[in-house]
Amino acid sequence: MIRLYQFLKPYSTALGATVAFVLLQTLSTLYLPTLMADIVDHGIARKDIGYIVSTGEVMLAITVGGMVCSIAAAFLSSRIAVGFGRDVRAKLFARVETFSLHEVDLFGTATLITRTTNDVTQVQMVTLVILRMMIGAPITAIGGLILALQQDRPLTLVLAVAVPILVIAIVLIARAAIPQFGLMQIKLDRLNLVMREGLTGIRVIRAFNRVDHQTQRFDHANTDIADNAIRANRIVALLMPIMMLLMNLTTVAILWFGAVRINSGGMHVGSLIAFTQYAMQIMFSFLMVSMMFVMIPRAAASAVRINAVLDTVPEIADPLHPIEAVGGPEISPPSPTIEFRDVTFSYPGAEQPALSDISFSAGLGEVTAIIGGTGSGKSTLVNLIPRFYDVDRGSVLVDGVDVREMSQQTLRAKIGLVPQRTVLFAGMIADNLRYGNQDANDAALMHAAEVAQATEFISLMSDGLGATVAQGGSNFSGGQKQRLSIARALVRKPEIYIFDDSFSALDFRTDARIRAALKREATDSTVLIVAQRVATVMDADRIIVLDDGRVAGIGSHRELMHNCNVYREIVSSQLSAEEVA
């Protein structure tokens, strides 16, 4: 948490001013009881109305001053804390944007989102509370103590007893309550889980006639959390009465011992009244500080999570002197667009490499298909081309240049990727299609949509290309999203197309139509298709069969049917004997 506060540096002037204002404001509040004591001991006791009124005027001035100070402090602390939150958030977001897929996998998308949003908000809030109350509380405590001592020294012994009891009581209750609330969170998650399962599995539950069973599960989770909530709330309910009781008993104790002191002539009645008020202020400030210790651990946990992201340096960085592609079709002899040379790659921490000794090359105008079972490394292979990961051994070359020697910008500008999991962004359809090529005109968008077989459903929408895409594209079906994602890559008119299992949500007919249209479209590009269906890959110029991260065969459909067992196995599981022939 303290480390995060280096982000407060730009605000050091404002910070200093805030502390000063809080100090002044606290002093003003502290000074009032002293003046009150003066009224009692000097004004009232001597029946000096003039003194009472003039002291009242001073009190009024101090009150106004205190208010002005605390408003100024509120103004500054808001700007500091919220500005601090903004800065941390911006830094965090920019950092995540530099991450390669490896770092994103390492954290997980969900937690990265929470860290950038909730965690920052949490830290920002605590910062604000610290600025508003934490600074004030110790000043009140110390100032109050000094003034209380001034009023009467022996009487402060009452506080020496009361404050520790107060702190201990808070700590004990917090200690008992916090684990209960932790448990409650777990049980709440459990309740949500059961509920969510009931919703996602509703067809299965009803089809298997297990509604009662599901109700029982829910009831169990529900009872569990209700019991826990009762327990937790009953512990927390102790806090207020005990605090109030302690405060009130302290007041009574002060009255009694104060009376003793007054009787022995050691103190005035006004001092007694002032002392009581100081005691309350001191105890309240200790209360605040104790509360703070309950709040800070949670913010500290958030801070740790934020720091973990900020400390992560992406392992993939641009070379110092990036080479622009020197190969490619322009020079002769043309170097292949994509070339894998003995590539071996393992995910960090994995025992087995995901890819071993992969070599192949693909040229312009060629279609290379990659097929294999789940976990055979198909997606991993294509993810190496845009340098989402770096290889362990060997090299990946694009236009004759190792991808590690190019800038990521240059490399990725050549690629049109259609990922396995379709991603659309909130906005219009047109915005999404233009994602890879801001300058494309509407005609180009419509053409791409045509090729991707998306025109039909786009034209059905009242706004056509201007139709809104909800966050995550949730207002489109899987097939529609996939088609838009394909169109987006087409608008880019890239040198290399990568289709990573991009036809899975389409029926065979649409799949076939898209591939036919693509064939006409991508004559001067290199195409890579990752697929599960044999029908999708059969007519490729080159089929790479992957099995457990190794090449089990490379060749055309006909060649592979002859010499590759794995391929034959895949084919026979999908096509009947006649089609195989």
């Binding site: 009242g56 205190g66 509120a74 944007e97 989102i113 932790g182 991603v423 029908a535 009947s576």
Partner: protein, 636 residues
Amino acid sequence: MSVRRPETPAASRPGGPGLMGGGAWGAMGRPPEKPKDFKGTLFRLVRYLSPYRKKLVVVLIFAILSTLFAILGPKILGQATTAIFNGVVGNLIAVRAHRPTHSLDFGYIGHIVLILISLYTVSAVFNYAQQYIMAGVAQKTVYALRRDVDAKLARLPLKFFDARTHGEILSRVTNDIDTIATTLQQSMTQLITSVVTIVGVMVVMLTISPLLTVIVLVTMPLYGLVTGVVAKRSQQYFAAQQKELGRLNGHVEDMFTGHTIVKAFGHEDRSIERFNLINDRLYTAGWKAQFVSGVIMPLMTFIGNLGYVIIAVVGGIFVTQGRITIGDVQAFIQYSQQFTWPIVQTANIANIIQSTVASAERVFELLDETEEIPEPTDAIVFDSPRGDVAINHVTFSYNSDAPLIDDLNIDVHHGQTIAIVGPTGAGKTTLVNLLIRFYEIDRGRITIDGVDIRDITRGTLRSIFGMVLQDTWLFNGTIRDNIAYGRGGATEDEIVRAAQAAHADHFIRTLPQGYDTILNEEASNISQGQKQLLTIARAVLADPAILILDEATSNVDSRTEVLIQQAMATLMQGRTSFVIAHRLSTIRDAEKILVMNKGNIIEHGNHRELLAQGGFYADLYNSQFAGASLDDAVMV
């Protein structure tokens, strides 16, 4: 993807009820949602509390007693101060008059101290007892609400779930009910305490000095002014902040989930640019919201202090004139300070109650949804169904304007296989859903063994069917429990045999915990194909007369695929089967093929008949399966 967790009770209660006004301050920020029917909803919510009527009365009495005792404190304390002061002043006079001084009347003071100690202790005990009881009442009420919502969900037709996202429904059970819980737990008693405090303090002050009371009351409109004007302002800013925060979260979610695309298309800079734009707007809205809400406290303190100064001065003058005692002034100061909080709180609680009622309204809306058609009272009981299915003149539509299925007639006999084919979104699942009565048909009838499916209970009907869907739903629990889900009370032996029949036994035994392996939340610890095998085992165990199968299209590796096919073939033996088919072999072997497009069954017959027709099916067949061997087939 939604990663935002519902606000937990722990999060909304920093360190306990209202000590620093944690709950109350939070609510001062956000603008309350307005319920549509405040009175009606409130009344219904109160009805939920009615089983605890007696306890609530006790809570009310305890809260009042606790507050009253606490209110009496300062007045009595003031008397002690007066006694001390008078004693001192008396001595002062005595000294001047050269008379003997007396010691303070410690008997009297001691008496007061004892009264105070007992008053405060009793007040604390009542306060705790009241909250203790309320915790039970609040949580039990919330439990009942959750239970009712869950029971309601079980009775709602699938149509309801189709029209809403899971998040939407979940948020009623979590967020909305949580809001109600917090309010019941905290705000209700706070409201009682606040009102009693305000009234009680006022009464006590009046008994001490009507004139001073009037002076204190002069500051009251100021409180109202501050809460009214500033709080309204702050709500506007908070609403703006909330909006920007929503935009920011949306952007972050979009960009992080689409990280691959952002990277692949080189959009990092533009993404950061847009983030900074929203982030700056959030900053502007944010600090204003925090500032304005931060001003409330200083203003309140100022008004409080203003009252304090006035009491000190005017009270002081009154004491010199002998109209009141010094202790009264002290009591007044304490009372005026006790005043501030309840006033702020009551203003907030009005808002809290409003959003609580809005939450309750959403929950009640759910509870009022139209339920499924009730079960027939004289339901027919099936002993051993054969599995003859007849669909006669069935018409169905999701919404009344466009019929999805129009006058459909199919006759299926025991043991036959019916393949349903067609492009994505053709309505294949709809047909299946009608069979098991997930949806009600508009016209016509569906019979099983000659009995209309509306004449038997849904439970009986569904026990006749077994389903293996593409959506391989498994729940968080052991593999054994997941298979046993097919039929309640299955023995270990039956479970293992079902797993064997489904070719799942082998892979289960290779797992470290075997049948006791716990499937995690997303069941990501086994592969998609293995999940499919488990769902087949589940259906085998259920041993239904009629099967509904949905063949998987992708995401399964070829070896598991072979196992799945074999398992499905075993399962289909001797049963009537409806298969949403993708595999040619299945389709060709089927006794009947239903070809669907755009929600209609456009052709039906067996493979040969349909090919001979040369229609949609023939077209589909050629493009899908025969395509491989045709040179002009559409390949890239």
